[in-house]
C-alpha cells in the first residue's frame, strides 16, 4: 500500500514505469525472434553438415566398394588363385590402371608371405611375411572381402587401407589372399575438394575415421593414421553409437565447434564434419548482437531521458515543494534554498516560469505579512488600554506609524452638541481642529459620506473635486490636497471616523485603504471597549456602593476576615455591638472583636470559651449568645461561615451576628399568649365546673337559695367566658389589622354602668362614677367601649383589692373624651407604666407573677382604644394606679345600618 502511495506521489517512478511498459514488450519480441531464428539456423547448419557428411560417406563407400569388388573379382582369376606371377602381372596392371586410388595390388600365400605385388618396384617386399597383419588374421576366418585398418604400407611407404579377399580352394583350403591398398591420400583429396567446394563456410573440417578410430582421411596428410583424438574431442568420440548425430563440443584447441558424424554404411568407418560455432551460427550471433545493441540503446536512451527528467524537472519541482510550503507558513529560507530559487529563476522554460512566480508570491506574502504584523502590533497597542483618552492617543500614534503619514485626526459625534468635532489629531493646526465642526446633516462632507455609506471615502484632489468646492479654502489654509475618511464601525460609542490628509494630490491606493480599514476595525473595538468599560466600571462602583450601604444598614452584624483572622470588612452593627467605631474595626483580629462582644454576655466565661471553640472549628457553625446593650437584652446568633472562591478553596471567614431578639421576643410572646389564654379561659371554667359538680354531688342536699346562687354564678361565668372569647377574637383581629368598629351614638353613662356591673366588684368595693355634664355626643362601638372599661375596672379590683375604692371619670379635653379609671391600691411600680401595655406583658416575669391575665386585659384595652383612634396610658398619681384613655370627639356616624346587624349578633 505504501509503495503504491509512493508510486502515486513520485512522478519519476511513474515515468519509469511508463518507459518500462513501452520497452519490455519490444525486448521480449526481440528475444523471442532471436530464439526462433537461432533454432532455425542451427537446424539448417546441422542439416547441411549432415548431408555433407553423408555425401562424403557415400563417396568413400563407393571407393571402398570398388576396391572390394576389384579384389573379389581378382580372387576368382585362375592366375591369381594359382599365384602365377606373369598372370598376376597382367591382371594386376590392368586393374591398377583402372583404379587410380589403388596404389598396390598384391598376393599373399597361405602363410602370409608376399608372393607378388604390382607395381613391383621400387622396394619390393616379395617374400616378406605379412601374416601378423590384422587383415590376414581376419581373412583366415572369412570368405568375404574385408577392409583392413589404415596403416603405412611398407611397400609404397604410403598410408593405405587394404581391401582384402581371402582365397579359398574349392576343397575349402586357404590359399592365401589378395589385397589392394587404397591410398588414403586419395580420400583426403576428395575431402579437400569437398571442403574447397564449401569455401564459404570457414573453418570446415572433415575427417574419416576407421574402426580403430584412426584418421583415415584428412585434408592435412600429416594427420593420417594418427588417432582421432588428436583433432576430435574425446567427449564427442565416446558418444558414437552408429547413428549420425550432431553436438557442439569444445575442440582440443579450445575452440567451440559443431560436430556432425555419419557412419560409412559398408564398413565400420565414420565421417565427421565439424565447423566452429562462430562460423556455423554467425547469422544468429549477428542477430543477437543487433538485439543486444538495440536493447542497450533503448536502455541508454531511457536512462538518459529519465536522468534528464529527474534533473531538470522532477528534482527542481521536489525542491520547490518545501520552499513553497515554507513560504506559505512564512518561515525563512535556507541559503541552499535561496540559491536554488535564484538559479531556477534563470531558466527560460516552464519550470523557470514557475519558480519566478513562486518568488513573486513569496515577496508578496512577506510584504502582506509585514503589513499584518504592523497592523497587529498597532492594533494591540491600541486595544491595550481601557482609558478612552489613552485609547485615542494610541490610535493616532499607531496610525502615523502604520501609514507613515503626517496629518490625521479622529473625528467623533459630540453627543451633547449634536455635531461632529475632532477629538484628537496630529500635524493639524489648533485653529483647524478647534473650528472644524460638521453637522450630521451635511450631505457632501467627506466624513458624513463615509459614515453614512460605512465605506472609506476619499477626495484625491481638493482643488478639482467638485464636492469639495465649499471647503476648498479650508484645505488651502491648512495645506492639504487629498483627504481620506474611514468610518469606525461603532455600536455603543458615538459615530467616529478616522481622517487622513495628504499635502499633495494623492490617490489613496486600495492597499492603503484596506490597511486603514483593518486598523479602523481594531480602533473601533478599542474605543468601544474603553466606553463599555467606563460604563461598567461606573455601574460596578455604584453597585458596590449600594451593596455596602445595604450591608452597613443591616440590623445584623457582619465581619469578613482573611484566613489569618484579620478583619477585612465589618459593618456598623458590629461596631455597635463591640462598642467601637466602624473604622477602627478593620485590621483588628476577628477574635478580638468577638471577645469584646462576648464580654457583655450574661454568663461570660462559658460563652467566651464556646465562642472560641466555635471559631476554631471548621465548617459552618452557630452559637447563640445573649447580651445586654443599653440595658436591653439582645439575643444574637453567631454564625461562622467559610468564604470560598469560585473553585471552593477557602479565602476567608465570615461571622454573621444575626439579631434574633425580635424572634425571641415573639417566641416568648407566643408561649406567653398560649399560657395566658389558657389561664384566662380556665378561670371561669373552673367556677362553672366547680358549681356544677357541687350541685351534682350526692352527699349534700343544697337548699333552693344556694342552688340559685350557684346557677347564677355559672351563668355569670359563662358570660365572662363569652366575653373573654370575644375579646380574644378582637385582639387577634387587632393584631391582624382587620378589626371593624361599628360606631354609633353611645350613651356614656349607660356604658360605664354596664361595664361596672360586669366587672365583678365585691360588695366592699366603693365605685365612684363621675361623668361631666354637657358632653358632646360620643360615637363609639358600645360593646367595645364597655369591654375597655370593664377590663380596667376588673384590673383595679384585682390589684387594688376587694375593698379598694375605684373611681371612673369621663370628661372632655380638647378634641378628645378622656376616660379615667383610678384606684387607691398600691399603684403601678415605677418604670413599668410604659411596658404594661405591651401585648401579654406581665409586670414581673419572675417569681412574683402579680396578675392573672392583666397583660391580656390591658393589651385588649389598648387595641380597642387605638381602633377608636385614641390612646391609652398610665397616669402617675400619689396613691394607687390610674389608667386614662382618650376617644376622639367625632361628629356624625358612618354606618347606621350596622346597628341592626350588631343587635342581631349580640342577641
Amino acid at each position: 500500500m505504501r509503495r503504491w502511495f509512493a508510486f502515486h506521489r513520485d512522478l519519476g517512478l511513474q515515468l519509469f514505469a511508463l518507459y518500462l511498459l513501452l520497452i519490455i514488450p519490444f525486448l521480449i519480441t526481440l528475444l523471442i525472434f532471436d530464439g526462433l531464428i537461432g533454432v532455425r539456423i542451427r537446424e539448417d547448419v546441422q542439416a547441411s553438415d549432415l548431408s555433407l557428411a553423408q555425401s562424403i560417406s557415400q563417396e568413400v563407400d563407393l571407393a571402398i566398394s570398388q576396391a572390394l569388388s576389384t579384389v573379389e573379382g581378382l580372387s576368382v582369376q585362375p592366375g591369381v588363385i594359382e599365384a602365377n606371377t606373369d598372370e598376376m602381372q597382367r591382371v594386376f596392371s590392368i586393374i591398377f590402371s583402372a583404379t587410380p586410388e589403388v596404389n598396390l595390388i598384391y598376393r599373399l600365400d597361405a602363410n602370409g608371405i608376399m608372393v607378388y605385388h604390382f607395381p613391383e618396384g621400387p622396394g619390393s617386399t616379395v617374400g616378406t611375411d605379412f601374416s601378423f597383419r590384422d587383415y590376414f588374421q581376419r581373412a583366415l576366418l572369412t570368405n568375404q572381402s574385408i577392409v583392413s585398418e589404415g596403416r603405412i604400407s611398407p611397400t609404397t611407404n604410403q598410408a593405405v587401407a587394404t581391401a582384402v579377399m581371402p582365397i579359398w580352394s574349392d576343397a575349402g583350403k586357404f590359399l592365401g589372399l589378395i589385397g589392394a591398398n587404397i591410398r588414403l591420400e586419395s580420400l583426403s583429396q576428395t575431402l579437400t575438394t569437398v571442403i574447397s567446394n564449401q569455401q564459404s563456410e570457414g573453418g570446415l573440417q572433415v575427417v574419416i575415421l576407421d574402426s580403430a578410430d584412426q584418421i583415415i582421411a584428412y585434408p592435412d596428410s600429416q594427420f593420417l593414421l594418427r588417432p582421432a583424438i588428436d583433432i576430435i574431442p574425446e567427449q564427442y568420440l565416446s558418444n558414437f553409437n552408429g547413428a549420425s548425430h550432431s553436438q557442439i563440443v569444445d575442440a582440443p584447441d579450445g575452440e567451440e565447434r559443431l560436430y556432425t558424424h555419419t557412419p560409412v554404411s559398408s564398413i565400420d568407418w565414420e565421417v565427421i564434419v565439424s565447423r566452429p560455432t562462430s562460423a556455423a551460427f554467425a547469422t544468429q550471433i549477428i542477430l543477437r548482437r543487433i538485439v543486444v545493441v538495440a536493447a542497450g540503446t533503448f536502455i541508454l536512451i531511457g536512462l538518459f531521458f529519465w536522468g534528464t527528467l529527474t534533473l531538470r524537472v522532477i528534482r527542481p519541482i521536489e525542491r520547490l515543494a518545501p520552499i513553497s510550503e515554507a513560504i506559505g507558513s512564512n518561515q525563512p529560507l535556507s541559503d541552499a534554498e535561496q540559491k536554488h530559487l535564484q538559479s531556477g529563476s534563470k531558466r527560460n522554460d516552464q519550470i523557470g516560469h514557475l519558480i519566478r512566480s513562486i518568488i513573486r508570491m513569496k515577496d508578496s506574502i512577506a510584504e502582506r505579512m509585514q503589513e499584518q504584523a504592523t497592523l497587529l502590533e498597532t492594533s494591540t497597542a491600541v486595544v491595550s488600554s481601557l482609558d478612552p483618552e489613552t485609547v485615542l492617543d494610541r490610535i493616532l500614534e499607531q496610525m502615523g506609524r502604520l501609514l507613515s503619514i503626517k496629518m490625521y485626526a479622529v473625528i467623533a459625534l459630540d453627543e451633547e452638541k449634536g455635531i461632529f468635532r475632532i477629538r484628537a489629531s496630529r500635524g493639524l493646526s489648533r485653529q483647524f481642529t478647534e473650528q472644524l465642526s460638521i453637522q450630521p446633516t451635511e450631505p457632501d462632507s467627506v466624513t458624513m459620506r463615509a459614515l453614512h455609506s460605512k465605506e472609506p471615502i476619499q477626495v484625491s484632489d481638493t482643488e478639482t473635486d467638485p464636492s469639495y468646492i465649499i471647503r476648498r479654502h479650508r484645505a488651502r489654509v491648512e495645506g492639504f490636497r487629498a483627504i481620506l475618511a474611514v468610518p469606525l464601525n461603532t455600536q455603543h460609542a458615538p459615530p467616529t471616523a478616522l481622517l487622513v490628509f495628504h499635502p499633495t494630490p494623492h490617490v489613496f491606493t486600495q492597499n492603503e485603504i484596506q490597511l486603514l480599514t483593518s486598523f479602523a476595525n481594531h480602533a473601533a473595538m478599542a474605543i468601544e471597549n474603553a466606553m463599555l468599560y467606563e460604563r461598567s466600571d461606573m455601574r460596578l462602583r455604584e453597585q458596590t456602593h449600594r451593596l455596602e450601604a445595604l450591608v452597613q444598614s443591616l440590623h445584623d452584624g457582619l465581619i469578613l476576615s482573611d484566613l489569618n483572622g484579620r478583619v477585612i470588612y465589618a459593618n456598623k452593627r458590629v461596631g455597635e455591638l463591640a462598642d467601637l467605631s466602624t473604622k477602627s474595626l478593620t485590621g483588628l483580629h476577628a477574635d478580638q472583636i468577638l471577645a469584646r462582644i462576648i464580654t457583655r454576655t450574661a454568663d461570660k466565661t462559658n460563652k467566651r470559651s464556646d465562642a472560641q471553640k466555635l471559631l476554631n472549628k471548621k465548617g459552618e457553625r452557630k452559637i447563640e449568645v445573649s447580651l445586654s446593650q443599653s440595658d436591653r437584652p439582645v439575643h444574637l446568633r453567631l454564625e461562622v461561615f467559610n468564604v470560598n472562591d469560585e473553585d471552593g478553596a477557602p479565602i476567608g471567614r465570615g461571622i454573621f451576628f444575626h439579631d434574633i431578639t425580635a424572634d425571641r421576643e415573639l417566641d416568648r410572646m407566643r408561649s406567653s399568649l398560649v399560657s395566658t389564654v389558657s389561664h384566662e379561659l380556665r378561670t371561669p371554667l373552673a367556677a362553672i365546673k366547680g358549681y356544677a359538680s357541687t350541685m351534682l354531688a350526692d352527699d349534700v342536699e343544697w337548699d333552693r337559695a344556694a342552688q340559685h346562687e350557684f346557677l347564677t354564678i355559672i351563668s355569670d361565668e359563662s358570660d365572662r367566658l363569652t366575653n373573654l372569647v370575644n375579646n380574644l377574637l378582637d385582639l387577634s383581629r387587632i393584631e391582624a389589622g382587620s378589626l371593624k368598629l361599628l360606631r354609633e351614638k353611645c350613651d356614656i353613662k349607660e356604658t360605664v354602668h354596664n361595664a361596672a356591673k360586669q366587672a365583678r366588684l365585691t360588695q366592699k368595693n366603693k365605685l365612684e362614677i363621675k361623668i361631666k355634664e354637657k358632653l358632646p355626643v360620643l360615637y363609639a362601638d358600645p360593646p367595645r367601649l364597655e369591654s375597655i372599661l370593664r377590663n380596667l375596672i376588673e384590673n383595679a379590683v384585682k390589684y387594688a383589692g376587694e375593698e379598694a375604692g375605684i373611681k371612673v371619670e369621663v370628661d372632655r379635653n380638647g378634641k378628645d373624651f378622656h376616660f379615667r379609671v383610678s384606684d387607691d391600691g398600691p399603684g403601678i411600680p415605677a418604670g413599668e407604666s410604659q411596658r404594661i401595655f405591651e401585648s401579654f406583658y406581665r409586670v414581673d416575669d419572675s417569681l412574683a407573677r402579680l396578675t392573672s391575665g392583666a397583660g391580656l386585659g390591658l393589651a385588649i384595652c389598648q387595641g380597642l382604644v387605638r381602633a377608636h383612634g385614641g390612646r391609652i396610658w398610665a397616669e402617675p398619681q400619689e396613691t394607687g394606679a390610674c389608667i386614662v384613655f382618650s376617644i376622639p370627639v367625632k361628629s356624625g356616624t358612618k354606618s347606621n345600618h350596622h346597628k341592626k346587624i350588631r343587635k342581631k349578633t349580640s342577641q
Binding site: T683, A687, K689, I713, P826, S852
Partner: protein, 228 residues
C-alpha cells in the same frame, strides 16, 4: 375532728365554691384573696390544710407555699390553671403536697383533700416495727425521725411515708402505680411526675451524691427500688 382549711384564690367564685363544699362537709374554712393575706391568717391560726391558687396579685401561690413550708409541714394543695408539668414540678419543689388543675370537680377536690390529710396523719404508717435500719439510714417510726449517717434529716410527711414504704420493700422493684397507691392513696396511680419529684427530693436529703444514688435506684419505665 374539726380541721381548719385555708383556701386562697383571687377569684371569688372559685374561692366560694371550695369553701362551701368543704364547710358543708364539716371542715372549718378560712379564705384569703392573695398570698399576703394567706400568710397572715396562717401565722395566726391553726391551719391543717392549705389550698392555694398560683396566680394571684401581690403574692402568688408559689411564693406563699415557699414561705409556709419554711415553718411548717402542713399539707398544701396547689390550684393551677396551667397544667404544665414544669409548673407542677416547681410547686412540688417548693413543698406542695399535691395539686389540682382547673377546672376540677367536687369529687376531685374532696379526694385530694382527704388523701393529703391522710398522708399527713403521722399515726398511719406506724406498724409493728419500731425502727427500720437500712445501710446508713435509720428510721424511728414512732417519732417520725430519720437519721442518715448519724445526722437527723427533716422530711415532710409524704417524703417520710415514701421513704418508709421503699425501705420496707428494700430490694424489690416497685412500679410507679403501686408506690403511688400505697403512699399517696388509692385515688392515685397515673401521677408518675409526683414520684420523680419526691424521689429527687429524697435523694437530695439522704444520698451522699444525689446524681449517683446509692439507695434510691430508678428502674426506667417501671418504677423505683431501694437498696440498703
Amino acid at each position: 375532728m374539726n380541721l381548719n382549711v385555708l383556701v386562697v384564690d383571687d377569684e371569688k367564685p372559685l374561692r366560694d365554691f371550695v369553701r362551701k363544699n368543704l364547710e358543708v362537709r364539716g371542715y372549718t374554712v378560712r379564705t384569703a384573696s392573695n398570698g399576703l393575706e394567706a400568710l397572715a391568717i396562717f401565722q395566726n391560726e391553726n391551719i391543717h390544710l392549705v389550698i392555694i391558687d398560683i396566680m394571684m396579685p401581690h403574692m402568688d401561690g408559689l411564693e406563699a407555699t415557699r414561705r409556709i413550708r419554711q415553718e411548717s409541714h402542713v399539707p398544701i394543695i396547689i390550684l393551677t390553671a396551667m397544667g404544665e408539668e414544669a409548673d407542677k414540678v416547681r410547686a412540688f419543689d417548693l413543698g406542695a403536697d399535691d395539686y389540682l388543675t382547673k377546672p376540677f370537680g367536687v369529687g376531685e377536690l374532696l379526694g385530694r383533700v382527704k388523701a393529703v390529710l391522710r398522708r399527713a396523719d403521722w399515726s398511719e404508717p406506724a406498724s409493728s416495727e419500731e425502727r427500720i435500719v437500712r445501710g446508713e439510714i435509720e428510721v424511728e417510726m414512732e417519732r417520725h425521725r430519720v437519721t442518715v449517717r448519724g445526722e437527723a434529716v427533716d422530711l415532710t410527711p409524704t417524703e417520710f411515708n415514701l421513704l418508709v414504704y421503699l425501705m420496707k420493700n428494700a430490694g424489690k422493684t416497685l412500679p410507679h402505680r403501686t408506690i403511688l397507691q400505697h403512699v399517696w392513696g388509692m385515688e392515685y396511680g397515673e401521677e408518675a411526675e409526683y414520684l420523680r419529684v419526691y424521689v429527687g427530693k429524697l435523694r437530695q436529703k439522704i444520698e451522699e451524691d444525689p446524681y449517683k444514688p446509692k439507695y434510691l435506684h430508678t428502674e426506667h419505665g417501671i418504677g423505683y427500688r431501694f437498696e440498703g
